[in-house]
């Protein structure tokens, strides 16, 4: 059989080459994309380790654990690779909340807080501080100088590396063992062996030391890549989705995504299926060219199993040569390009350098290196999948051949006999076009195959474009929402006291800076929304939020039963200026964000709550409905007032009409409700004038600003720092690098997806050329007869070209329908419920849609003209 398979491969060289090429290309694509996604995951992990620390869990361990756990400890079920200890020794709240911590070297190493200058403190009055903290404290001295904190003087013995994403953490200074502070229990920071599942090691660790799960906190940004939590079983996920009223299809998708990396494995599976389709289709063409020979072999008594064996051996032989070659090719080419486009899938690459501006907190700068990792696992899975699937292809081919009688197999296609028996020449129909049409549609399976391959590239390209267009909009909106209009600078007050604000005069000063273009000021107050109990949705969500000890302690809970049939929900209340209100337009779900309406009337904009599946709702209310809002009468109020349980004279209670409902607030606070792991907290938006008029709030809580083109950004930041120098606790965040990084990332992502789409398009094109070539050349004799009957070369080419154009047009219709009826709906679902884009506002540009349509027609036309020229040049006598 092997000999026969080899002889077939040698004899049908061009078809053998086509199958081999399809295997190489698809293997290259499959392995390349897998490696790329895997590399991105690995690099994300490395970046997150850099930003959030190279540790997995910290826990409040008992004495036994503290004394016995050591780096390199190997026990049954876990291996501790590194462990560090951290003790909080003291805290001052002026001018910022600063913790004095005693950390061992191992901790400092894991959290990248190594010394960059001087020595680690050992005396009672010695400290080591990072540049970010020093900058905000306005300290301009160096190592050996004295620094005053909380009324006490300390000698600065060393400077440590600044923490990444410092803005989200409290400021810390490092102290030595002899520091005179409170004695508190140390926290144990652990890093387990990453070669094993982390949750299993943690379970074993907790079992061994009798540690409760409640005392363990995970470094989520790191552990989510390393199986940090035990996943629910797929059975349980599906069972919940089917049996629980809260479960649905989206629940399954989201759970599979978060616990089983659905996107990664789904993409690989789709590429595997795509590869199989291409190989199968090309192989079918190859087999159909020799169907008559197989029919002949059967008449000679060769069994179907033997023919199947020959086919499978042929496929496997080619696959064994093609798959490794493709993997080498795909990985080799991508490795070359990876450094340039490495952070396509990464959410951002943390820079390994220190902040340029000592006083400004630089967020997510660029400049990190990206390494390429070969995804051996998915490659091996792809190999076994395709290897097994090819055997199935061989079986399927023999099965479809056996459905025909031997006579049919030898006689060729007779499917046109099934049609209606019309005499077309009597209807003045052009028999040339009738013939061309019959050639096209006589074999419906082949037509669908060609249309599918013509459409597949276009569909993937359209989906990619749709996704990247919306991704762009989503990224812009996220930036606006997270840092405030995508501004380069943000001045905020590092405090959780409402009266700590940026004075109006300072904001006016900032507005006057010539280096700055747009300057947006936001006012803020914490409020309470009163709703009826029956209007409350997502009890579980609020229960969860209520459990947060910080919320419980400060606010008495986020959602509180007021005992009169109503609930009070803590709300961020923002005052925006006109520019920001205009920018809010893109986030509107219902109604209209009309700045004038807000200023003149008693309207507010409500931010809808979004559930875990991307559905928005504002307690069933809509624009025109009213809400009741309570806010403290004085910003300078007692902490107790923030629990909203003080006497009513401490609050202003006012009813507002909902002017619009939006999906997100812009420029959000990060000290009241958006703390710990909570973000995008419940918010109400009004105008700055309303904040002043209704609540008497004059000063601002945050300012977002952008430099004008050509401005010296470093100087602009310096000037801003200068202006806020006298504002207690005011800090500046510099988003320049983050914005640049984001833009670069988006561009690369677009480029990457387009490149993948183009590769798929090329593979489809290869398939189209092969299919069309076969489709036309298989009619070589019939075309020869037509030529013998006297059709001119022009007429002949016109006939063939018409066929190609018809294929192109049909493929366009196919694409249009598939895209609009199936794919776009799927994409919309995916974007709104799975990846939860903020808004689906961007469709595919008309030019791209038209381009794809025209390209299809051109590809189809080119694909038929090539074999047509071959026929046209051939000698009529020899073909008939």
């Amino acid at each position: 059989m092997l000999k026969l398979a080899c002889q077939y491969m040698r004899y049908y060289k061009s078809q053998t080459f086509a199958i081999l090429a399809s295997m190489i290309l698809t293997a290259a694509l499959l392995s390349g994309v897998s490696s790329l996604m895997y590399s991105s995951q690995r690099n994300d992990l490395e970046n997150n380790k850099f930003v959030y620390g190279n540790w997995h869990y910290y826990l409040d361990a008992g004495e036994e654990a503290l004394s016995s756990v050591r780096a390199g400890q190997q026990e049954e079920g876990f291996t501790v690779e590194q462990c560090g200890r951290l003790t909080v020794r003291d805290m001052v709240s002026e001018p910022y909340k600063i913790y004095f911590v005693d950390a061992d070297e191992s901790f400092r190493k894991m959290t990248h807080r190594e010394l960059v200058e001087g020595i680690y403190p050992s005396g009672a009055d010695e400290i080591a501080v990072d540049r970010y903290t020093l900058g905000n404290l306005g300290f301009s001295g160096g190592v050996g100088d004295v620094l005053c904190l909380g009324g006490k003087e300390y000698t600065l013995t060393g400077i440590v590396k600044s923490a990444w994403a410092a803005g989200s953490d409290e400021m810390v200074v490092f102290v030595g063992e002899r520091f005179q502070g409170q004695e508190s229990h140390p926290l144990l920071y652990l890093r387990f062996d990453e070669g094993e599942k982390l949750y299993k090691q943690l379970e074993a660790f907790c079992r061994q030391y009798g540690i409760s799960w409640d005392s363990v906190t995970a470094n989520d940004e790191v552990t989510r890549y390393l199986d940090g939590e035990r996943p629910d079983s797929i059975y349980d996920i599906v069972k919940f989705a089917l049996t629980d009223e809260r479960g649905n299809f989206t629940y399954i998708i989201l759970k599979l995504q978060s616990e089983y990396h659905l996107a990664f494995y789904g993409m690989i599976l789709l590429l595997g299926i795509f590869s199989l389709f291409i190989i199968y289709s090309i192989f079918q063409i190859s087999v159909s060219r020799r169907a008559a020979e197989y029919g002949m072999m059967q008449t000679l008594g060769i069994s179907g199993a033997a023919i199947g064996g020959t086919l499978i051996l042929e496929l496997w032989t080619l696959f064994l040569a093609g798959y490794p070659t493709g993997c080498l090719l795909g990985n080799g080419v991508l490795q070359l390009f990876y450094r340039k486009f490495g952070n396509v899938f990464s959410a951002g690459t943390a820079g390994k350098g220190q902040s340029v501006l000592p006083g400004a907190d630089q967020i997510l700068g660029s400049g990190g290196t990206s390494d390429f990792y070969v995804a051996f696992g998915p490659m091996a899975a792809g190999f076994f999948f395709l290897f097994a699937a090819l055997a199935f292809v061989g079986w399927l081919t023999v099965h479809s051949m056996q459905k025909k009688s031997i006579r049919q197999a030898m006689g060729g296609d007779a499917s046109f006999l099934k049609g209606r028996r019309r005499i077309y020449s009597r209807r003045n129909r052009s028999l040339v076009s009738v013939t061309a049409g019959k050639f096209m549609f006589s074999n419906k399976k082949r037509v669908i195959g060609i249309l599918l391959s013509l459409s597949i590239g276009g569909c993937i390209f359209l989906c990619t474009t749709y996704m990247t267009e919306n991704l762009k909009v989503h990224a812009e909106m996220s930036m606006k929402s997270d840092d405030g209009l995508g501004s380069e600078y943000r001045v905020s007050v590092k405090s959780d006291t409402l009266s700590d604000t940026i004075p109006e005069a300072v904001v006016d000063e900032i507005r006057k800076m010539p280096e700055l273009g747009q300057v947006y000021g936001t006012k803020y107050v914490l409020g309470e929304l009163i709703i009826r109990e029956q209007e409350l949705e997502w009890d579980e969500y609020f229960d969860e939020r209520n459990k947060d000890s910080l919320f419980l302690e400060r606010y008495g809970g986020i959602c509180v039963d007021r005992g009169d049939g109503t609930c009070g929900i803590k709300y961020d209340v923002y005052g925006y200026d006109e520019g920001m209100l205009e920018q809010l337009g893109g986030f509107v779900l219902e109604g209209e964000a009309d700045p004038e309406g807000l200023t003149q009337g008693d309207q507010v904009i409500a931010v809808a709550n979004m559930d875990g599946q991307g559905n928005y709702n504002f307690y069933g209310k809509h624009p025109g409905d009213t809400i009741t809002l309570r806010v403290p009468k004085q910003l300078d109020c007692l902490e107790e007032v923030l629990k909203f349980q003080s006497p009513e004279e401490n609050y202003i209670v006012k009813e507002f009409e909902i002017g619009a409902i939006v999906s997100r607030a812009l420029a959000q606070e990060d000290a009241y409700l958006n703390v710990n792991s909570w973000s995008n907290a419940e918010s109400i938006i009004m105008s700055n004038e309303q904040m002043r008029g209704v609540y008497g709030i004059r000063d601002y809580s945050f300012v977002n600003a952008s430099a004008i083109d050509g401005a010296d950004r470093e100087q602009a930041a310096g000037e801003m720092l200068e202006r806020i120098r006298d504002v207690p606790r005011a800090v500046l965040k510099d988003y320049t690098s983050a914005i640049e990084n984001q833009k670069k990332y988006l561009k690369q992502q677009q480029f990457f997806f387009s490149a993948i789409a183009v590769v798929l398009l090329i593979i489809s094109l290869f398939h189209i050329m092969n299919s069309m070539n076969y489709s036309i050349l298989s009619r070589r004799r019939e075309y020869g007869i037509i030529r013998a009957m006297g059709i001119t070369d022009t007429g002949f080419y016109r006939m063939i070209l018409g066929t190609g154009i018809m294929y192109g047009v049909l493929a366009d219709v196919f694409i249009f329908l598939i895209y609009h009826i199936v794919l776009r709906r799927f994409m919309d679902y995916y974007m709104s419920h799975v990846v939860q884009f903020l808004h689906l506002t961007s469709g595919i540009p008309g030019g791209i849609m038209a381009g794809i349509m025209i390209l299809n027609i051109l590809i189809a036309a080119a694909a038929v003209v090539i074999p047509a020229r071959k026929i046209g040049k051939s000698d009529i006598v020899s073909v008939i």
Partner: protein, 237 residues
């Protein structure tokens, strides 16, 4: 005498250098209007090559070929194609029908190549009735017997009322009974439409029924014998 077909010093060589084969050597031949001539020869003698050259399906290496006084070698590819479809009808041994068209449309096909040319459905019907396949007009070639398929091929060859009908072993695939029928039909066409027919056959008996037999051996015409009187005579066709 006016000849429908005239070959002057026609030579055809296939291949190059040491692989060269001279299929036809200095052929001179004429066929008159209304004549039914048979070319007879052994396999590989060059008879089919001669027919293909005469039909403009192949080009000679040397010499000239005239059809209705027009030298076909002087025509461009397009002119030759148009000239061929208007003046030459072909009947092949393997029928060469379009499998995707039914009998009627197969016959009408050559007419539709000429834009603006009116399809004479009356004439097609007449031809199909004459050839005994009118009842089969909606059948596809694969649903017909060999003899019926060859009748369709004859009808298609005649539909443009060509100056000459070239038939290459038209009975080569048929049994003896059907062979007689098909030859009878060709002769009837020759008689009814004054159709000039040049037929290649290796069957001497069939050739004997024609007006003239042209023997060809090793690429040369060896003899041409008139068996019957010229057209118009008593025994013509």
């Amino acid at each position: 005498m006016k000849y429908i077909l005239e070959l002057r010093h026609v030579q055809k060589i296939y291949g190059e250098k040491e692989n060269q084969v001279e299929a036809l050597k200095n052929i001179d031949m004429q066929v008159k209007e209304g004549e039914f001539a048979a070319i007879v020869g052994t396999s590989g003698s060059g008879k089919s090559t001669l027919l293909n050259l005469a039909g403009g399906l192949d080009t000679p290496t040397g010499g000239r070929i005239y059809i209705k006084g027009r030298e076909i070698g002087s025509l461009t590819r397009k002119e030759l194609t148009i000239f061929r479809r208007r003046n030459i009808g072909f009947v092949f041994q393997n029928y060469s029908l379009m499998p995707v068209l039914n009998v009627y449309d197969n016959v009408a096909l050559p007419v539709t190549f000429d834009r603006g040319s009116h399809i004479s459905h009356k004439y097609i019907e007449e031809l199909l009735r004459e050839l005994g396949i009118w009842e089969k007009r909606k059948k596809y070639p694969s649903e017909l017997s060999g003899g019926q398929q060859q009748r369709v091929a004859i009808a298609r060859a005649l539909v443009n009322k060509p100056a000459i009908l070239l038939a290459d072993e038209p009975t080569g695939n048929l049994d003896s009974g059907t062979t007689v029928e098909v030859i009878g039909l060709l002769k009837a066409s020759c008689r009814k439409y004054n159709q000039t027919i040049l037929m290649v056959t290796h069957n001497e008996a069939i050739a004997q029924t024609c007006d003239r037999i042209i023997h060809i051996e090793d690429g040369r015409v060896t003899a041409g014998a008139r068996l019957f009187q010229e057209k118009g005579g008593d025994g013509a066709c």
